[in-house]
Structure formats: C-alpha cells, structure tokens
C-alpha cells in the first residue's frame, strides 16, 4: 500500500473515531451478551438434563401401582405436572413395554408423541431429542424402565421443552445493567482519545500548513506527557534540520561564489590568451586541444572546430609539424625541443609559421605539468626582413668594395714610378678623390638612414642661405658628372630668405637627388637644379632628361632598398637608399618630396619646404 493510501486511511480513521468507538462498544456489548446468553442457555440445558434424568430414575423406582391413577386417585405424574413448576416441563407418561400409553400428564397444547421403546436394556435409561413437527416443538425426552419383580413392565417418559437461545423480558434489566457500564467506559474512552488526539490534530494542521507554505518552522503547541515529549523532540529535530539546511545553504553559497570566481579567473586567463598578439594553442595533460585563441584560426586559416575536435593529422599533413606536435603532446613531462620549427602551411605556402612549445608547469608543484602551450608565430615578415638584411649587407659590402677596388688599383699603379705620365697621375688623384667621396657618401647615407630609423637623429637647425648651399652641392656634382658630358644648369634666385634647416641633412637629400639625376642621365643630357619661393613655401627642383621612371616604379622609389627591375636602371650601380633617405630627411623638416617623371623623357624631383615662423616654433 502506498504512503498516500496510508495517509488517507489515517485521516478517515481520525474523522470517524466517534463512530468507531460506538460501533466497537456495540460490538463488545453484543459479544458479552451473546456469551452470557449462551452460557445461561447451556446451564439451563444442563439443569434440565440433570433434573430430567434424576426425575426419570426416581419415577422408575416408584411402585407401578402408585404411578398409574385409579379411582379418583391421581397418578404421581399429575403431581409432577402441577408441582414441578418448571417452565420447561412438557409432559410425563407411563407406557407399557410395547410403548402403549398407560397414563400421562402433559401441559396444555402438548400431544405426547408415540415412541417405540428401546429393545437394548443398556438404552432403557436414556435421553432423546424429539421434534414435534406438527406442533413445531423441540423436546428433550428422558426415559427410565419400570421394573416389577425383576421384569420390565414399561417405561416412564418425561418430556421437557428444549430451552430456546435468547432472553426473556425479565432478563432485560439484568442485561441492561451489564451493557450500561460498557457504554459509559466507551464514552469515557472516546473522550480521552479525543482529548489526547486534539493536540496531535493541531500539530498535524500546523505541520500541514507549514508544508503547504513551504516553510520550515518549529511547531507551537501546548501539550503534556508523551505528546509534549514528542513535540519537543519534533521541534528539536526541526531545529537540527534548520541548522543543517542553513549550513547547506551557506555551503551552496560558498560553492556558487567559488564557481563564479573560477569562471571569472578562467575568463580572465582566456582573455589574456586571446589578447596575445601570437596564435596560442593549449594541449591538456591527456594531449587534447583544450584551448585555442582566435589568432590560430586566422593564422592557419583552419576553422576552430576542426582544430579543437580532431587529431593534428586532420588539419596538418606536414610531417615535421606532426612529429613536433606529437612529441610534445604525448610527453608533456619529457624534455621539450628547445628549438622552434618553421613550416609553410599547405593552404598558404607564401607564409612562414614558427612553432614553439612551452610546458605548463604548475606554479606550486613544478613536477606537475598541466599540459603544453604551443605558440604559432607568423615569421614571414621576419624571414623576409632577415633575407632583406642579408641581401642589404651583401649589397653594401659590394658597394663599398667597388670603390675600394678602384682605390687599390690606382694607388698600386701610382706606386710604380716608371712609365706613369703626369696625365695619368692627375687622373688617378681625381679618381681616388671621387671614390673616397663615394665611399664617404655611402657610409653617411647608411649612418643617416639608420639613425632616422632608430629615431635617434635630431635635426640641428640653423638659418641657412639656401643659394649658397645649393651652389656648393651643384658644383661638387658637376665635377663628378663631367665624364658623361652632361649639361649642368642652375637657377636659384639671388635673394631668398634664409631657411631654418639642418644644413648637413638637407645637403645629403639634395645631393642624393642630384647624384641620381646624373647617374640616370644619358650622354649629353641636361641636369638642372632650381629653387623658388612662393609665399611661404620654398620649392627645390632637381630635373634631368634621363631614362625616367615608369608609373609603376614611382609608387615604390621611396621604399628603402627598392631598385627597379628596369634594364637601364640595372645597368647603373645603386644601393636603393638614396631616395629613401632623401624622403626621410625632407619629412623630418615637415616638408614633402614629389616626383614627376615620364619614361625615356626624364624626371623631376621637388622638395617643398615651408619657410615661416610656424616652422620655427615647431622646431623649438
């Protein structure tokens, strides 16, 4: 039976306790009365039996003649009939040995039944139950033999009504006197039960209300005795449960707080890993990818899911990468490869990516390793820069060595005294001078560009007469370019306001432009240096009629180390630094450098500088 059914039964019992008590007391009274009546009935039967058998025996001992009435002498049986006073007495009869009635006495309404006498002498004295069907009567008959002179002459028969089960009117007061106390006791019992149950009921209602409200409080009931003990224990239990609940709630709050803290910490670490400029991948102790930041997907061009949920073989087939990754993820505690490896991803072979693994040691227990952090770095630029640096150094070395070779050969030739004409000597001196200048210029350019790139160059401005500076540079270059049989022109106004500039720096810039103009001119070309001032702007122009620069190349000529692939350009030596440096210097002066050029027609470079007080202020 389920708990709910049990509860229902219990409620049903509580509600009908009065009926149950009344019903029970009725049942008890009935049972007691039944037993009492039953006992009385049995006692009566026993009385009748004793009485009947004794009486039958007594009668059988009375002489026959006294039994049979004659001549106005009533028989003994009549006497018995009238004097017995027994309400159960039915009849008395004397029969001969064949059973024929000789005399009888019966109460009114009774017809004495005929009976065949028992043949067996052992049955002569006996009792027998008879049912007088016609009269609907139950009779207990006792018979005894009548013997005279040792001979059976007949029988005495005595009949008694069998007592009925039940009670008579006369017995009612007696029975009532027995039933009443039982009813009184039941009523008392009911009262006591009700009184005892009442606090339980209240407690039940209160607990029920608490359950319905969902609250958990102690029960407030005044009770005595065992119920008081029970309430006390119940309240004690509630108190314990309350403290246990609050303990659990506080534990739960602690757990929630620490879980929030953990989530926060994890988010913080993840945001740090996300913010790293490098692509980061983390393997846990079991070698599974547990984290990747967004840079991994963009760098490797592989969706995050593919990396997170799969073995490395599914996203990289490069054998070196597979070997490296498998080594570090399978042996997180073993020695890590100190070197990084580089590879080119299959989906973008132009890229170079470096991989380096770092074991994630526990900060407290360094023997324990949480896994491995793998850093992916895009080293494409780095490699290109390395390559460019290498090429640049080789180029610079060559550029330096070329004039050195000339110097070595000329000086060695000069050392020989014999056979050297004065003309050759003069030529040698000039060449040596020019080559030294060339080396000096290259070194200066290199130093300047390095300083500018490092940001360590500060302009040393002074008020400079532009015309003097330009003429000086022009004359030097004119000398250098004479071998090409060029036509040199200079057009600088005599009166120009002084410029507040770094003279040496601007000299390098203009010199580079003029050197280029000469270098890229063809025989009999014209190289022009001019300057003009319009309002507060000064325009310095270097123009040639040389090979010119294609439109495509014009985009790159100010990039460092850039040299055009143009055939005519390649015929001329150069280190790709001159224009880049000139541009940097002009920019440092807050000016601009423009180019106008047409292939095979020539080029014009214009330096535009502002010449006003604001420039002075900015410089200060």
């Amino acid at each position: 039976m389920s708990k709910k059914n049990l509860n229902n039964v219990s409620t049903w019992v509580n509600q009908r306790i009065g009926f149950i008590v009344i019903f029970s007391s009725l049942l008890a009274v009935s049972a007691i009365l039944y037993l009492l009546l039953n006992n009385m009935h049995a006692t009566r039967i026993a009385q009748i039996r004793t009485q009947g058998i004794e009486l039958a025996r007594l009668i059988s001992e009375i002489p026959y003649y006294q039994l049979v009435p004659n001549d106005g002498h009533r028989g003994t049986l009549e006497l018995i009939k009238y004097n017995e006073g027994d309400p159960n007495f039915a009849y008395g009869a004397i029969v001969d040995k064949n059973g024929s009635l000789i005399t009888s006495a019966a109460i009114s309404g009774i017809i004495i039944p005929k009976l065949k006498p028992p043949a067996d002498p052992s049955n002569w004295l006996a009792e027998k139950k008879l049912i007088l069907e016609s009269q609907n009567k139950h009779i207990i008959e006792f018979h005894a033999p009548l013997i005279e002179k040792g001979k059976l002459i007949g029988y005495a028969r005595l009949g008694f009504h069998e007592p009925k089960f039940g009670f008579t009117l006369g017995q009612i007061p007696f029975l009532a006197s027995i039933s009443l106390p039982i009813f009184l006791i039941a009523a008392l019992f009911l009262y006591l039960i009700k009184r005892e149950i009442q606090p339980l009921k209240v407690a039940g209602i209160q607990i029920n209300d608490l359950v319905n409200q969902g609250s958990f409080k102690q029960v407030d009931i005044r009770a005595s005795g065992e119920l008081s003990d029970f309430i006390q224990k119940f309240n004690e239990f509630v108190r314990l449960a309350q403290s246990r609940i609050s303990e659990l709630e506080s534990n739960k709050n602690d757990l929630v707080a620490s879980s929030k803290l953990l989530t926060y910490k994890q988010s913080k670490i993840e945001s740090v890993l996300q913010a790293l400029p490098e692509a980061v991948l983390v393997f846990d102790e079991s070698g599974n990818v547990s984290f990747i930041n967004s840079k991994v997907t963009s760098l490797l061009n592989i969706p995050a899911d593919e990396i997170l949920n799969n073995e490395i073989s599914s996203w990289s087939s490069n054998p070196n990468v597979m070997k490296y990754i498998n080594k570090i993820k399978n042996n997180p505690t073993s020695n890590y490869p100190a070197e990084r490896i580089e590879f080119k991803p299959e989906n973008s072979p132009d890229k170079s990516i470096a991989i380096k693994a770092f074991p994630l040691f526990s900060p407290k227990e360094t023997k324990y390793v949480y896994g491995t952090l793998v850093l992916f770095q895009d080293v494409t630029e780095e490699n290109l820069a390395k390559q460019a640096r290498g090429e640049f150094v080789a180029h610079v070395a060559h550029e330096l060595k070329t004039p050195l070779n000339v110097l070595a050969m000329y000086s060695e030739t000069l050392q020989r005294e014999e056979g050297q004409s004065a003309e050759f000597r003069a030529e040698a001196v000039n060449v040596i001078h020019d080559e030294v200048e060339r080396i000096s210029m290259l070194i200066n350019n290199l130093l300047s560009i390095t300083k500018i790139e490092l940001g360590s160059l500060s302009l040393e401005r002074q008020h400079v007469k532009l015309r003097d500076l330009l003429v000086d540079i022009f004359e030097t270059n004119k000398r250098n370019g004479r071998a090409k049989e060029l036509q040199f022109q200079i057009d600088v106004p005599k009166e120009m306001s002084p410029l507040y500039i770094d003279k040496d720096m601007l000299r390098i810039a203009i010199n580079n432009l003029l050197t280029n103009a000469i270098k890229y001119s063809n025989k009999n070309g014209v190289v022009t240096l001019s300057a003009e001032q319009i309002d507060n702007s000064v325009y310095i122009k270097i123009r040639d009629t040389g090979i010119g620069i294609s439109v495509e190349d014009q985009h790159y000529i100010f990039d460092k180390f850039y040299r055009s692939n143009d055939k005519e350009t390649r015929e001329r030596t150069g280190h790709g630094l001159g224009l880049s440096l000139a541009n940097d210097i002009v920019k440092l002066h807050h000016g601009s450098l423009k180019v106008q050029s047409e292939k095979d027609k020539g080029s014009e470079f214009t330096i535009i500088l502002e010449n006003n007080s604001s420039m002075l202020e900015r410089a200060v």
């Binding site: 060559h398 070329t402 050195l404 070779n405 050969m409 060695e412 390649r570």
Partner: protein, 126 residues
C-alpha cells in the same frame, strides 16, 4: 699568349687594368657585361678571359655558364675576379673546368705575375 678579354662594368678598373696589362705586353679587349662578352667571343676567342660577377644585363656567373655550353672544348682559362666573396661563388668556379677565382681588390702586380706564369706554361694558380 697575348690576347686577354676583360669583362668588367666599372670604368676605372677597366682603365687601370688595361693600362697595366698593356704595359706588360698583353693585348686587351674589353666587354662591359656578359652579353657584350659573348659577342666578342663570336668574333674570336681570347687566350684568357677575366670577368667580374656583378654586372648589368648579364652577370659573370651567367656568362660562364653560357661559355660552358657554347664552348665545351675551350682552351682558354677563365679568371673570375670579383668582390663577391660568398662561398657559393667559389664553389661554382671550383666546379668549372679551367676556371679560377680571384677576390677583389686584387693587386695588379699579383695579377701580372699570374698571367706571366701562365704564359710561361706554369699554370694560372699563383
């Protein structure tokens, strides 16, 4: 051995070498790059060829490879004279038959000594 073809783009070096070698009885022909050198070879083979590596139009190493193909049975030695000192340049010259590497700056005296030695049949290696 009289005729030497000098392949060089730097005019000053050409000038000094030409002057010094001619003084020592050599006949000098000049080409300013690989292309010009191949043209000159078409006109007639020299007794010895001196070439720079870093030149416009056709570099010295490319010239040497072309000569290997065009003149497989050449008798004249090639002297690679360059300021490019990278190891790979030494390697390819070493792998070529009858080809020698000489690093710039080179002493004119030393060069003449080598050429004289070769002329006398003692080989080019100084």
């Amino acid at each position: 051995m009289q005729n030497i073809l000098i392949v060089e783009d730097e005019p000053h070096i050409i000038r000094v070498m030409k002057l010094s070698l001619e003084e020592n009885g050599y006949s000098i022909n000049v080409a300013h790059n690989g292309e010009q050198a191949l043209e000159k070879l078409n006109d007639g083979l020299p007794d010895l060829l001196i070439t720079d590596i870093n030149m416009p139009r056709m570099s010295g190493d490319l010239l040497c490879k072309k000569i290997e193909v065009d003149y497989p049975d050449r008798q004249f030695p090639i002297l690679v004279l360059t300021s490019k000192t990278e190891i790979e340049h030494r390697e390819w010259t070493a792998n070529m038959n009858n080809t020698y590497f000489l690093e710039k700056p080179v002493s004119i005296k030393k060069l003449i000594r080598m050429l004289d030695s070769y002329k006398n049949g003692s080989g080019l290696a100084a």
